[in-house]
């Protein structure tokens, strides 16, 4: 599709100019909110009310960031979003590792050890990718209560694992379908077992899909709000819930710079992942739509 013939007539040159113009305008539309957020987060309040959205900070200050991290009020308590930031990590890391491990084993069993009904099992699990989570909220709340882990980090980890394995299984299943069966069959004939084959043959080539799965799960769980707000208490909230509480706490003067600093803090981990591993991020996004 890239072999479009280009003629350097004036009209063509005008066309090229227009093309770049539109593309740059679009880039501004996407990038400016981030720029505004960043600039607002380092402006003193006086500068915010006096200046305009796009005015460059005259006296940049990191005070809003330190306040957002350690002092700003999120509902009843005023200790910033820092603690909740670590909460998010404490929830995300185990949930990502567990759901990715389960997904890898599932995908492996579903493709290299097919049995009667294995496709049905896959279809059954896949449905979990599509349900609106509102339909599981109330039973989940009650189940977490019975298990004695309501409003705890363990409860949130469980929820994210349970509803994450549909996606991780999909990723690994679609990846392993493309790995030739010959090696696996030969290993089976040699008497190698289920886990040995996984460990020696599949795992060494799984790096790309592990990265995709980890990134996908990390972004999904880090950015989750619904489960976080439904199943956490004030000391186990993830950072998204704390950010929302901070912005909607209506005591005193609205400190927009602190709001923006808190939003930046909540956004940074997934932004960093995106910048470092954008390619895999895109692959995860499209994995659901490109069928294997």
């Amino acid at each position: 599709m890239a072999n479009v013939i280009r003629r350097q007539t004036p009209a063509a040159r005008l066309g090229r100019g227009l093309l770049y113009g539109v593309l740059i305008l679009a880039a501004l539309f996407y990038i400016l909110p981030l720029v505004v957020m960043l600039m607002t987060s380092v402006k003193p309040l006086s500068e915010i009310s006096a200046g305009s959205l796009l005015s460059f900070p005259q006296n940049p200050t990191f005070a809003p960031w330190t306040k957002a991290w350690g002092e700003a009020c999120t509902g009843m308590r005023c200790d910033g979003v820092g603690g909740y930031f670590w909460n998010s990590f404490a929830i995300v890391i185990p949930a990502v590792l567990i759901s990715t491990t389960i997904g890898a084993l599932n995908g492996y069993a579903l493709t290299k050890w097919r049995f009667k009904g294995s496709e049905l099992v896959f279809a059954l699990m896949l449905f979990g990718c599509f349900i609106p989570f509102q339909v599981v909220l109330l039973p989940m709340a009650q189940t977490l209560g019975w298990l004695g882990i309501s409003s705890s980090r363990a409860g949130l980890i469980l929820v994210h694992v349970v509803f994450g394995i549909a996606f991780t299984t999909l990723f690994f299943r679609n990846f392993y379908v493309g790995i030739p069966n010959e090696l696996v069959s030969a290993a089976k004939l040699d008497g190698a077992g289920f886990f040995r084959i996984f460990w020696r043959i599949l795992l060494p080539v799984s790096a790309p899909i592990i990265v995709v799965s980890v990134i996908w799960q990390f972004t999904q769980i880090w950015n989750d709000f619904l489960f976080g707000v439904a199943f956490s208490a004030h000391n186990t909230q993830p950072v998204t819930v704390a950010l929302n509480n901070l912005v909607n706490t209506s005591t005193g003067v609205r400190e927009y710079n602190v709001d923006m600093a808190a939003a930046m803090i909540a956004a940074l981990p997934t932004l960093v992942v995106y910048v470092l591993a954008g390619k895999y991020f895109v692959r995860g996004l499209t994995a659901g739509s490109v069928k294997g």
Partner: protein, 314 residues
Amino acid sequence: MRDSLPMKNTSATPLGAGAKRSTPSGGLQAWLPRLVLAPSVAISLFFVYGFMLWTFVLSLTSSRMLPSYDFVGFGQYARLMANERWWVASTNLMIFGVLFVVICLAIGSLLAILLDQKIRQEGALRTIYLYPMALSFIVTGVVWKWLLNPQLGIQAMVQGWGFESFRFDWIVDPDMAIYTLVIAAVWQASGFVMALFLAGLRGIDDSIIKAAQLDGASLPRIYLRVVMPCLRPVVFSAVMILAHIAIKSFDLVVALTGGGPGYATDLPATFMYAHAFTRAQIGLGSASAMLMLGGVLAILIPYLYSELRSRKHG
């Protein structure tokens, strides 16, 4: 069913290439894959299918603060149908969903086509277009709430440039607030549609386009008549994913408008949450959740159907 899965198959001959096995652990090896899958199947049966059924049962009861099992038939659904706020939420979802999907498709496909013209710095542009997708809808909501703030945001900025009569106060206008959700959601997701389309464009065989060029077709015509029809599956997947995002939209509403002014920007997802968790109307909330599920299935089933059909036909 899940309990009998591993047991039943210890003696069965596994299908596939590894059928002949001479090791003494053959029996174990045959049911190990099923044993590995069993917990996930159990989780899926309980937490997905069981919970759906459970919510359905709750929707047939008069539960308020706590789940009770006092059945009232489809009474909660009747109450829902008579509830004005539910109709506002459903209408909002229609407006929001259609605009969100259509605008994302338009912007996404346009950007993908433009980016496909041997653009310098294509990688950098792509990165910029797509990064909002990495953000939480809560962050997006917080940022756009600030940008749309009439006193300090875009409106104030443009007025400051000398356009005193410029108005952009949709976020506080009950009739227009729903469109602010569209703006923020399009900002977040249109780059993703661009990525989908670009991947699709790169997958098209160059020779088709060359042939069309030799026939003297103009570039817009080639895209409209030759390229777009090839991208039908991409359009289909994109619509499906976007519609799904729209139905599940909850965080964005909470962070951007809080459902307000009043309940002008309520969506079914926020309606459900408000009634089930803060207004002690568990029965009614469950009924609304079931209708959301129905909405998702109404999109999903035709999609899966056509997907399976096209696979069968090659």
